[in-house]
């Protein structure tokens, strides 16, 4: 029996506008650009891919299933800039063949810096999923599949989750296969689904690479690889960015056709099926404990945090951002808190990555800045302004409380 478990990450950040140290206003984000990119990706990916998934669900009468993790910040943008995309996700939700996962609302790194903020954001995301899709997520995935033992313990403490998704990194699995269900050391009723990065990346990264020995990849060949798992695994976790379909791999590469034909090819083998993460975790027992003392992620070949925390600028920007948490929350000012949270979006720190800077590659593709230095400068200028706004508000509030004290002491 081989179950294919699809999880698609759906996310677009709020990109910052060009903000110099001489700017004093509090509009930090490039609304035009964000709207433009949101609509572009909607047309190239979200709309055609959703329509295809919907067709496949109908065609296979409930035997084809997928799951999505859609970030809060994208859901907001879709509501504003592309409501038809949101509607099509809602239609998918209504089919009963689509599971929606929970994550931090702002697709941030709060797990590493503030557990309070982390918990608040998961709650916020959960509420949004409930409101929009009438589902209560039971599966958690952290930003960029950032994971370690502590994360599992925290999710266990928060409660309400059965499954966590993580990267099937070689250095964590060792000789073991990602095609089984595992569990974390101290929370045995939680289950772990680990990404089969080889098969996932065959679609997400290598699909259109003509230098790849397996190019061109068709559904028939891929289904053969999946089927080969039979006998030494139960579940093939295909985790990838949803933008793979039509945005990272353009339509003319044949990516949509590949997806269109994949279910038939997979289901051609009678032992195979499709499962959502919850179903997969319910169907199979954990075969072993996976101990992850060090933090892993799904990024780059290192599968660690170095894409967001690889140089002094990234460390500094994140530390300064979370240092403001208390002050930001004390202001009780909705705009300030919201702006601060939008600054947590992990993309801001990804843009500051110097790792592959010299070669320029995948990071460059996603990067609106000319250099990591420019992105750091821009971010820090914004943060500097947010800091002043906080101080301003806090002083104001102090004034008010002093005034109100006066009133008590010297009643008119």
């Amino acid at each position: 029996m081989a179950s294919v478990c699809f999880y698609f990450q759906v996310h677009q950040p709020y990109r910052l506008r060009n903000y110099t140290i001489f700017n004093t206003d509090s509009s930090y984000f490039d609304d035009d650009k964000n709207a433009q990119i949101c609509r572009k990706v909607a047309n190239k990916c979200y709309l055609p891919a959703n329509s295809l998934i919907s067709d496949l669900i109908k065609k296979y009468n409930g035997r084809f299933k997928v799951s999505y993790s859609i970030t809060g910040v994208l859901l907001e943008q879709l509501e504003t800039y592309a409501p038809e995309v949101l509607a099509s996700f809602q239609e998918l939700a209504a089919t009963g063949c689509v599971e929606f996962l929970a994550e931090t609302y702002y697709h941030g790194l709060s797990f590493l810096y503030s557990h309070n903020e982390f918990i608040e954001q998961i709650e916020a995301h959960k509420r949004t999923i409930q409101r929009l899709f009438v589902q209560t997520p039971r599966v958690f995935r952290n930003t960029e599949l950032i994971y370690n033992n502590q994360l599992a313990e925290l999710i266990d403490r928060i409660g309400g989750f059965d499954v966590i998704l993580a990267e099937g990194a070689d250095h964590v699995l060792g000789y073991r296969s990602p095609n089984f269900v595992y569990s974390p050391p101290k929370c045995k009723h939680l289950k772990l689904l680990l990404k089969n990065y080889r098969l996932s990346d065959d679609i997400a990264f290598r699909f259109s690479n003509r230098g790849w020995s397996q190019w061109p990849l068709n559904a028939d060949k891929f289904a053969g690889w999946v089927n080969a798992v039979n006998g030494c695994g139960f579940v093939v976790n295909l985790f990838m960015d949803y933008e793979t379909f039509g945005e990272h791999q353009w339509e003319d590469t044949g990516i949509f056709n590949f997806l269109r034909h994949l279910p038939a090819e997979i289901l051609k083998y009678p032992d195979n099926n499709f499962k959502t993460p919850s179903e997969a975790a319910a169907a199979y027992d954990a075969v072993d404990i996976i101990d992850v003392p060090y933090t892993i992620s799904w990024a780059d070949i290192e599968r660690d945090l170095s894409a967001w925390l690889g140089n002094p600028m990234q460390h500094n920007a994140l530390a300064e951002l979370y240092r403001l948490e208390e002050a930001v929350k004390q202001t009780k000012n909705k705009d300030i808190i919201r702006d601060w949270r939008k600054l947590q979006i992990s993309d801001h720190f990804y843009y500051m990555c110097t790792k592959w800077f010299a070669d320029g590659d995948v990071h460059k593709y996603f990067n609106p800045y000319d250099s990591p230095y420019d992105s750091y400068i821009n971010f820090m200028n914004v943060l500097d302004n947010l800091d002043s706004r906080c101080n301003g508000k806090l002083i104001e509030r102090e004034d008010i409380s002093i005034d109100s004290n006066k009133n008590v002491l010297y009643p008119v």
Binding site: I21, F22, Y373, D374, I377, M380, N381
Partner: protein, 425 residues
């Protein structure tokens, strides 16, 4: 392989990057076993009356470095040539500008005791004639001419000897003078580039100018980046415990180098940060105007003019600096930013430069974009991780600018030229 090389400055007699480049390149080519006869103009000394002077390498090279230059022989032509004509901004009519230009040339401060009455073009022609004389008694395979003053000599020698000529473009008239080019110099450059078999440009930025402004086919132009001498693991020295941050401009204070943009940005920076000083190290025809400009903006007490710096003083300036800025309007390459990085100083460079196209760990800005220039200056002074990352990663990156690599590329060009030169019967 023997190369007849025509240059016009060499350490210690230098006024800019050209001499540094010729020094590094010659040394590295020599190490590859290629022999070089290096012909240079040299300012006349009153005791010498002969026009051509034979020189041993000792005249140019420190004794301890002689072994690095064992394949190089130097030949000096007595001449008042100076590579950089200070641009004239206050010029009136074309004729007066021309006269001013030459009088400034001849009144070069370091040589004010010598008076030249010759027209500069006459000097260039004379250099060409003398170089041809030297060439007639030398044996060589290729001719390599550095920048416009030596192009006529290169063309002349190539014509007489039938050997292939490569011209090496370290800067063009458009870099030095913007759109108000000196037509005569442009003509010399253009003629040299068209007469040459191959052209070496110090950057793609310069290659584009050569292709677009001089009508040269892109196939003929090869880009060879300059190198920078490695500091051989000597630790970076910084001058500690300054109460003020220091932003450094180091270069000729001329239109090409964009000094006014530096000062305008300084004015904006001072609106945000007070404990910062701006140092302008260098000399040029715009020095006085820049002093007045800083005073006029009310930041005269924050902008310091050191005038021309040499040797240890240059090192000291780098050691004090928290940021080096190169706001050049047009910079063919830009060795100075690499020198700054070697001293552990973060750099902010104009996008209108050759170095900006290849140096990753630097902040970049359009020279005219004062707001961004000031923004980035403030960022370096305010956010210390930025400065740390720039200097740390920048220092590693300077390792990729090796004269050995440049020399290997040049040597390859020599060989290609020889391979396709028709044999003269």
């Amino acid at each position: 392989m023997k190369v007849f090389m025509l240059g016009w400055e060499f350490p210690p007699f230098i006024s800019g990057g050209l001499g540094t480049a010729c020094y590094g390149l010659t040394k590295a080519i020599s190490k590859l076993g290629t022999e070089i006869v290096f012909v240079l103009p040299r300012a006349a000394q009153s005791s010498h009356s002969s026009h051509v002077k034979m020189l041993s390498a000792e005249g140019y090279i420190k004794t301890e470095e002689l072994s690095d230059f064992q394949n190089v022989r130097f030949k000096a032509i007595v001449s008042p040539l100076r590579p950089y004509i200070p641009s004239q901004v206050h010029g009136g009519s074309e004729d007066r500008r021309k006269n001013n230009l030459f009088s400034t040339w001849h009144n070069n401060p370091s040589e004010h005791t010598q008076i030249y009455s010759h027209d500069i073009y006459e000097q260039v022609c004379r250099y060409a004639r003398k170089a041809a004389e030297i060439a007639s008694i030398e044996d060589f395979d290729v001719i390599h001419a550095h920048d416009w003053m030596t192009y006529p000599a290169g063309v002349e020698v190539a014509h007489l000897s039938g050997k292939p000529l490569v011209v090496h473009v370290h800067s063009t008239e458009f870099d030095r003078s913007g759109e108000h080019i000196n037509q005569a110099i442009y003509d010399i450059e253009r003629h040299g580039m068209h007469a040459a078999e191959r052209i070496i440009a110090v950057s793609n930025y310069t290659k584009n100018i050569i292709v677009n402004r001089y009508g040269i086919s892109p196939d003929k132009v090869e880009v060879v980046y300059n190198g920078v001498e490695s500091n051989n693991g000597t630790p970076i020295q910084r001058l500690p415990n300054k109460s003020d941050k220091i932003v450094l401009f180091l270069g000729r204070i001329t239109m090409q180098k964009g000094p006014e943009y530096f000062i305008a940005a300084a004015k904006k920076v001072l609106e945000k940060i007070n404990n910062v000083k701006f140092i302008m190290a260098g000399e040029g025809d715009m020095t006085h105007r820049m002093i007045e400009y800083a005073a006029w903006l009310g930041i005269g007490h924050k902008v310091f003019f050191t005038r021309f710096l040499r040797g240890a003083d240059v090192d000291r300036a780098y050691q004090m600096a928290d940021l080096y800025v190169m706001p050049s309007v047009s910079e063919p390459f830009g060795i100075a930013p690499l020198e700054a990085i070697k001293h552990g100083v973060p750099v902010l460079i104009s996008k209108q430069s050759g170095i900006a196209e290849t140096l990753k760990n630097a902040l970049k800005v359009d020279f005219w974009d004062i707001d961004q220039m000031a923004n980035k200056m403030v960022a370096v002074l305010k956010y210390s991780p930025l400065s740390r990352t720039l200097s740390e990663y920048g220092n590693i990156e300077t390792g990729k600018f090796r004269w050995e690599d440049s020399a290997a590329k040049v040597n390859k060009i020599y060989k290609e030229m020889l391979a396709c030169t028709p044999v003269r019967i």
